[in-house]
Amino acid sequence: MDAGFFVQLAASAAAVGVLVAIAAWAKIARPVAPLDEHRARAILAEEFPGRAVEAVWVASDGAGALAKSGGLALVVCRVGDGFAARQIPWPQAVSATFRNGRLSVDLGDIAAPRAVITLPSWPPKSFDGDLAA
């Protein structure tokens, strides 16, 4: 096997480390303001066009949101300086683990395994009847 390949690989790995450090130092990510309800609804409309949103719960830290849309929960979570969104059955969201003000939602997707949303309480009283749905 070509020794030159490994020399280049090692040099490239070192360069990757330096570039990542410089990218982090540069602080040139997109500015992302914490979500408020207006912004959360705008993202939901973009990610789930045509879906009627009955209620939105925005994370206390503005890093995510959860909405009820019929029998579905629409989940938005911050990823770096962007967002990712998934939909899951509403009962699954209602029964998600809530501990120490953090709702941990299993999104059931290998590419989006879990969303953690900080909320004062969960599940919401007005919708927990849907748990049996």
Binding site: V20, A24, A29, R41, P49, G82, A84, A111, L119
Partner: protein
Amino acid sequence: MSLPDPIHAALNPVALATPIFIVTVLAEIILARMGKIDARYEGRDTAVSLGMGLGSNVAGLLFGAISFTAVVWVWQHWRIFDIPMTAWWAWVLVFLAEDLAYYWFHRLSHERRVWWLSHVNHHSSQHYNLSTALRQTWTGALNGSWSVYLVLSLLGFPPAMVAIQKGVSLVYQYWIHTEAIRRMPAWFEAVFNTPSHHRVHHARNAVYLDKNYAGILIVWDRLFGTFQPELDAEPCRYGLVKNLATFNIVRVAFHEWIAMAQDVVRHPRHALGYIFGPPGWSHDGSRETSAMIKARAAGGGEATSTGAAEPAVSPAAAAG
């Protein structure tokens, strides 16, 4: 003077260009930091992009023999013509033939899930900068997407010649992954793939989905009806229709393989659809393909969300 080896390439354009990749990514970051150009970098996103690029080199070492063996075997046993590596016209021909093969390889990589499995990696960043160009797949040799290039071997292009031209194409496509260059001169935009054309290709806006598959020459998209200019009224939003919610590089590399395997196991009667159908295909119509998304958007569905217009029903507990 000895004739060039027709099987083993005497030079590797990608390896030769690697120092340029490093210097230009650094330059893009520094110039963006200084406010001189338009570029955005997020640390973990950059780490994944560059890590994928590094890993693709290792994957090539581990699995590259699969495609190399097939290419050489077809050329040795089935070639129609004997194309000399020393003729100038042969290099003009391989430039055009490889670029056309790339167009179809790339188009099929978007339109069939079995090939999208690997190519999805390149599109998984929500950023569009020079590091995104280096976000390369680890599994391209495993799903047979390279088989399009066997046509070139069949025609008689020596494997070394094709390998060099593929490298040239990859290096060309590096510089177009940037927001720092808005438009090239009109004549250039008409003929060549450019940052503007390729931003469209990386965008997840409905109007931009499955467009601009070109490698070097954008004329293939114009010819085959897949060209879409960048619209000032529709700023590009980058990434996947369903963006990743993780920076775990192993998940980034293999998520679509695992998702397809799960679909096949759960719905074995529909396995062929889940493997060879377009990305987003489902047996019960519960998911959306690009064609469905574009049709919905064209029908106006995307512009209106009843949810956005409704009054908020935010329990006090939900106030952010």
